[in-house]
């Protein structure tokens, strides 16, 4: 059952992105920024976490889930370390994903070259 929920919710979030892409001619970079900010705001309100509880990876894998992670992280840091958490929370929570992407992308640039299209 958790796979069905993950597929449906994750798929639907992507469909929202696709409709925005086809209808508004916004670039994918803009859509990604909007999704992350939206996820962060919804996370701040505590709404997105309910979606994650319901759909698991279906809500956490799409980019709004990334935004939600930032909101969760900033709250946790403030609870634990006080005001400084406002600045450190977001960065700390995205550290694993972003550092992994940097490392793997760097390694990829050593091994691969862009293929002709």
């Amino acid at each position: 059952m958790d796979y069905v929920k993950a597929f449906a919710v994750g798929g639907l979030i992507c469909v929202i992105g696709q409709i925005v892409l086809d209808k508004t001619k916004l670039t994918s970079a803009r859509i990604l920024v909007i999704f992350v900010v939206a996820g962060c705001v919804l996370g701040g309100l505590g709404v997105y976490e309910k979606l994650v509880e319901f759909a698991g990876a279906g809500a956490s894998v799409p980019l709004p889930g990334f935004g939600n992670l930032l909101a969760k992280g900033v709250k946790k840091e403030i609870d634990e370390n006080g005001f400084i958490g406002v600045l450190t929370g977001g960065f700390k929570s995205m550290a694993a994903g972003v550092a992994a992407a940097m490392l793997f992308s760097f390694l990829a640039s050593l091994i691969f070259t862009a293929k002709e299209k």
Partner: protein
């Protein structure tokens, strides 16, 4: 001004001859409908170099050398090279001619560069400042994507109105003597901007520029579209060509049967996934050199109006929300 005609046109007293035309293209173009007509098809996009930019210069140099060769001339007999491309500061052309050691005019008119090069080349030849000139234009899909769109490996969708930058170089040799079709007149376009901002719909931005130069050409020479066997635009693509026909019809000119677009001819949109068609400076240059020039030589086309089109924005102006100024140049070529 005795050879200036009407508002935007010139005629040539001793019409310069297009003595030869050569085309060198990439593998995708070599897979398309014109595959048997190109002079040379590169086996891969790097063409023996280690970057897309160097590959474009290699193509461009080969195109010029091949055209000079086909004209039965040697490089020192070329008085001027006029060439341009899309890359920043026109490096595609400058690196291409670096080893050729000929006087060089680097031009920029985006995808209409070959039109600008041929017009100015004719002025040099008809003005008796040169006997032979080489006019060339090049582009490279991967280099263009990298320079002003996205890295090649970035996943994304291209809208149906977008076009595919042609990889290749087209070069013509224009001479005061020799055999071949003659360029008898030219109409130079103005910058036309009808407020189109969508960089994925360049055909729509350029169609009004093509219409404007065509209308002025017809008015300046008191001519009609029916007086031409073919009116060949540069890279309007399927969307832009449709718009051009509508715009011309509004002004009372029916170009329907005789209108062709190089961007539509060069790829098979259905099987090659090129959406609206080909684009880039090489698009009109290689299509003219491989498809229309031979027909003029064989007399299967007697009078042709060649109208390369260009959209003259860059990625900075696009980010600033500017509209796309466009241009088109017309050349009357007679067998």
């Amino acid at each position: 001004m005795r050879r200036h005609v009407g508002k935007q046109s010139i005629r040539f007293d001793l019409p310069p001859v297009i003595r030869a035309a050569a085309s060198v293209v990439g593998p995708k173009e070599g897979d398309g409908p014109l595959k048997d007509r190109f002079d040379r098809i590169m086996p891969d996009m790097l063409s023996g170099t280690n970057s897309w930019e160097k590959a474009e210069s290699a193509l461009a140099r080969q195109g010029i050398e091949l055209a000079v060769d086909k004209a039965g001339l040697s490089m020192p007999e070329i008085d001027y090279i006029l060439a341009g491309d899309l890359l920043n500061q026109s490096i595609g052309s400058t690196y291409a001619v670096r080893s050729l050691e000929r006087p060089f005019f680097g031009l920029f008119s985006a995808c209409s560069t070959i039109g600008e090069a041929m017009t100015l080349g004719c002025v040099l030849v008809d003005g008796e400042y040169a006997d032979n000139i080489a006019a060339a234009a090049s582009s490279h899909f991967c280099a263009a994507e990298k320079t002003f769109r996205n890295p090649l490996e970035l996943g994304g969708q291209r809208p149906l109105t977008s076009s595919w930058t042609v990889t290749g170089d087209g070069c013509v040799i224009i001479s005061s003597s020799g055999k071949g079709p003659r360029i008898t007149a030219a109409t130079t376009g103005k910058i036309i901007d009808m407020g189109i901002k969508d960089v994925n719909n360049m055909g729509a931005a350029m169609a009004p520029a093509a219409a404007d130069v065509l209308i002025h050409h017809f008015e300046d020479f008191n001519a009609q579209p029916s007086g031409y066997d073919a009116i060949v635009t540069g890279d309007l693509g399927s969307t832009g060509l449709k718009l051009l026909k509508t715009l011309m019809a509004e002004k009372g000119y029916d170009i329907g049967e005789n209108a062709f677009d190089c961007g539509v001819e060069i790829f098979d949109a259905k099987t090659q996934d090129t959406h609206a068609g080909g684009s880039g400076p090489a698009c009109s240059a290689v299509t003219f050199a491989s498809l229309f020039y031979p027909k003029l030589c064989e007399g299967r086309i007697k009078r042709l109006l060649f109208v390369p089109t260009g959209a003259l924005m860059n990625s900075t102006t696009a980010m600033q929300g500017e509209t796309m100024p466009s241009i088109a140049h017309a050349l009357r070529i007679e067998a």
